[in-house]
Each structure stands twice: as structure tokens, then as C-alpha cells.
């Protein structure tokens, strides 16, 4: 793949289970591609510099900041946004838990929080350590300390952290193997 400056080129992105083709300049971020080109404004632009986590999406099951990703780099990858969690209109368990626990006030950080929480639970269950995990072995229980450390990449300026924490704990317990 080679794109010259000021040239638009068709690329294809696999988003929420659907192959989408879009004409882009190489400088287009994945975040702007989702919001402005693919009609998926659920993913939010907060700081646009990788500091707030509002733009978090899942790529091949791993959470990333879509604002620091160039769309062109993510061809052939499986991208899931907040819109992909409830394709038939039935809320995902994590979305339902955020409602039940008041896991938001203004709601702007929520799509990023939810995608991040799902990526986090995958990481935790795959034995990925965090800064508070004991050096040897794995954490077997998602303690508050583990949850807070692992979700620190998502800021909520309303301060709904307690509800967010409770929502994630609930989904974690409900999906225990």
C-alpha cells in the first residue's frame, strides 16, 4: 500500500462485522474515519491526544485509543465500536449494567468506558498482569485495586467512577466461568 500526499485512496475496514470501503487521505485517524466517514458517532472524541480514553474501541479484541491510530493502518483488523455491541437493539450486558448502576452522568465518556471495560475483562481473564498484580502468578480475583488500575486510561469528568466500578464488577461476576 502506497498513498501519495493529497491523494485519496479507497481502503476497506472491517467494522462491527461489516466490510466498509471508504476513500481517505493517509492522515485520517481511525476515530475520524468511524465518526465522519462511516456514520458511527458512538465513539467519542475527547482530548484527541490519547489522554482521556473516550475514543476507545476494540481491535481484534484488544482496546486501543482510536484517536492515535491512522485508519489506513487498521485494514484487515476486526474493529468493534459501541454500535457493534447491540446490533439487534438488545443492550449488551455491560451497557445494561452501566444503566443499572448509574455508571454515567453526561454520558460522553461512556462508549469508551464500556469498550475499555470489555477489553479489560478479556485481558484479566487471559492472565494479563497490571501494575498491582503480584509479581509471580496471576490475579484470580478482580479486586477494586485491580479494576481501578486497569481502567485508569478512561477519565470521567463527571466523576461517575463509583457507578462505573460497580457496573463492571457486576458484569465480571455475572460472566464468571
Amino acid at each position: 500500500m502506497n498513498i501519495s500526499q493529497d491523494e485519496f485512496k479507497n481502503i476497506s475496514l472491517h467494522v462491527n462485522g461489516v466490510e466498509r470501503v471508504l476513500a481517505i487521505e493517509p492522515r485520517l485517524s481511525l476515530l475520524d474515519a468511524l465518526r465522519d466517514h462511516l456514520g458511527l458517532p458512538g465513539t467519542k472524541k475527547g482530548c484527541n491526544q490519547g489522554a482521556c480514553g473516550a475514543c476507545t474501541v476494540l481491535v481484534d479484541g484488544e482496546r486501543i485509543n482510536s484517536c492515535l491510530a491512522l485508519a489506513i493502518q487498521y485494514q484487515g483488523r476486526e474493529i468493534v465500536t459501541i454500535e457493534g455491541l447491540a446490533p439487534s437493539g438488545v443492550l449488551h450486558a455491560m451497557q445494561q449494567a452501566f444503566i443499572e448502576h448509574d455508571g454515567f452522568q453526561c454520558g460522553y465518556c461512556t462508549p469508551g468506558q464500556i469498550c475499555s471495560a470489555l477489553g479489560m475483562l478479556n485481558e484479566f481473564r487471559n492472565g494479563v498482569p497490571s501494575a498491582v498484580t503480584p509479581n509471580s502468578g496471576v490475579s484470580t480475583e478482580l479486586t477494586d485495586a485491580e479494576l481501578r488500575e486497569r481502567m485508569s486510561g478512561n477519565l470521567c469528568r463527571c466523576g461517575a467512577y463509583v457507578g462505573i466500578r460497580d457496573a463492571i464488577h457486576q458484569v465480571y461476576r455475572a460472566t464468571a466461568p
Binding site: N2, Q5, G50, G53, L68, P129, R150
Partner: protein, 334 residues
Amino acid sequence: MNNFTYSTATDTRSALKLFSESPDRKARFLAGGTNLIDLMREGIEQPRSLVDITRVPLAEVQELPGGDLRVGAMVRNSHLAAHALVREKYPLLSQAILMGASAQLRNMATTGGNLMQRTRCYYFYDGAAACNKRVPGSGCDAIEGFNRIHAILGTSPKCIATHPSDMCVALAALDANVNITGPSGDRRLAFTDFHRLPGDTPEIDTNLQPGELITSVDLPASSSGLPSAYRKVRDRASYAFALVSVAAALKVEDGIIREVRLALGGVSHKPWRASVAEDLLRGKAPTPDNFARAAAAELAPAIPRRGNTFKVELGKRTIALVLSDLAAVQGAER
């Protein structure tokens, strides 16, 4: 963000070729993008071409015949921190990585890219400020400005920026080596020779030459299994850059320090290997007095500024605390 030509490399050879074909031979290699894309959006970096190296097959962690561990340049930070061999042999590295950035960023950022991070100095990021690193010869607004986060060791009158990485502080303590390929062949640099002090040319962060590419980082077998710890002091408990960080390994036998490795983050333009303190401690008893004396000697040449005088004492205390803890877990402190 200015526009640019984008091309993808499939192996190191094509990466070097694409660089050499770039219009001004100033292409930048793009990996995780967590720092470069941000700098480009802010207009601090304005490359006319990017060579995407994320498909270059350098994402393996492999044990070498001699026992060293080779970490490919494209290994993601999160994968490296979670790797079973790293956690078993070099827990210091795993800890340091996990204390940096956020989970999202660690899922994107690569080993090579972590080494190539640029400073988080506010004045470097502010196009309206004087910054010798951004515009050589323009001055340094940090020296008389808000410099709470800035360097105290190895500074120059031109620049007091710090290197922001946690991972690199551990690599400096572990005697890692950096493998590089380039137009004139392959070479290898000791990790502590990779980054530079600012001197008269703060615009040059590393000793990597134009067109050269990091291929891997080697962790020596001799650093494997040492009792070690990474301690990071910062303004909040998670997801913040270090004010001061300490990477330490300490081996005590028969009441004597047999091996000590010490590196500091948040205090210098490069990960600061504390060899003055190490030399004072090797062969000595692991006592609080000896730790405090060694820490004081390491920090003696510090030049603090108005906003960061606290870093001198913080550095001394953090060094002494980490070493004391490592001695205590070996039942060696008396």
C-alpha cells in the same frame, strides 16, 4: 496535521529502501503511533512521508542460544509485560512497563517506539514557546519557567527536558543492548549509549542515525533473576508520568552487596544509570547509611531549578527506600 506520503514496509530491507526513496530522506518510521501521531497533530513533527513498519515481522520474543532474551522491535508493550519469560526472568521490566501509560496505549505502543519517545516538556509541545529541541537556537523557556517536571541531572543551558519512558529505565538497569539495522549494515549499541544528554544539540534525542531502524532489544542472561523492583513516584496513583522513578536490582550474599544495578527516570534527558551509587555500594554492607550515602553521591551533581528542587531529596529517598526494601526481602538488612 500536515499531509504526508504513506507506504508500508513488509520487512526491514523494504523499510530501509522506502526510507531512502523518501523525498527529503527524512521519512519517519511509524509503529504504534502513540507519540508520533500526537506530535504530528500538534504540528511539532511534520514529516512529509511515513513508512509504516507495523507489518515488519519483528514481533517475537525469543531466547537466544547463550541465554539472552531478544525482544523484537514490534513487540507491543502489553505483550512484553505479560510475556511469561519476561515475568520470570526480568520482572523489573514487566513492572516498569505496567506502570507506564494506560492499557489502551500499551496495547498500541511497541518496544522500538518506546525507545523513540520524545519528551513531554510543555514548552516542546507549545509552538509559541522557545524550545531548542523543537527549533534549535530559539532558547529554552523551561529553564526560567514552570519546570516542576524537568530534569536535574545531565542538563545543559540549552535544555532541561526529561525522557518520559518507564520501560527504558528498566532497560538501562538491566544492561540491555539495542540492535540496529541501517544503510551501512547492522550494529549494536549498549542501551545506556542509545539516548543522549542534551548538550549543545538537544534536538537530537538518540544516537540512532537517519535511516537506521531498531530491530530488537536484547536482555542479557547475566541480568536474569536478580532481586529487583521498580518504584515510580508521580502525581496520581496511575496513568501519569514519573516525577522520579527508580529501577533497582540488588543481590546480597553473606551480608555483602554482590551485585547492584540502579537507574533513575524523570530526572534526566536520558534514562539515568546511577553508576556513582553502584560503585559506592558494590562490596559494601547493605545498611541504610550506605544506601543513603550512595544516593547522596549520585544526586550531588544535580542542578535543580526553581520548580523542581524537591526532586533532589525525592530522588535520594526513593533510591534508599527501594534498596532497603530489596535488602530486607533477602533478610540481609541489619
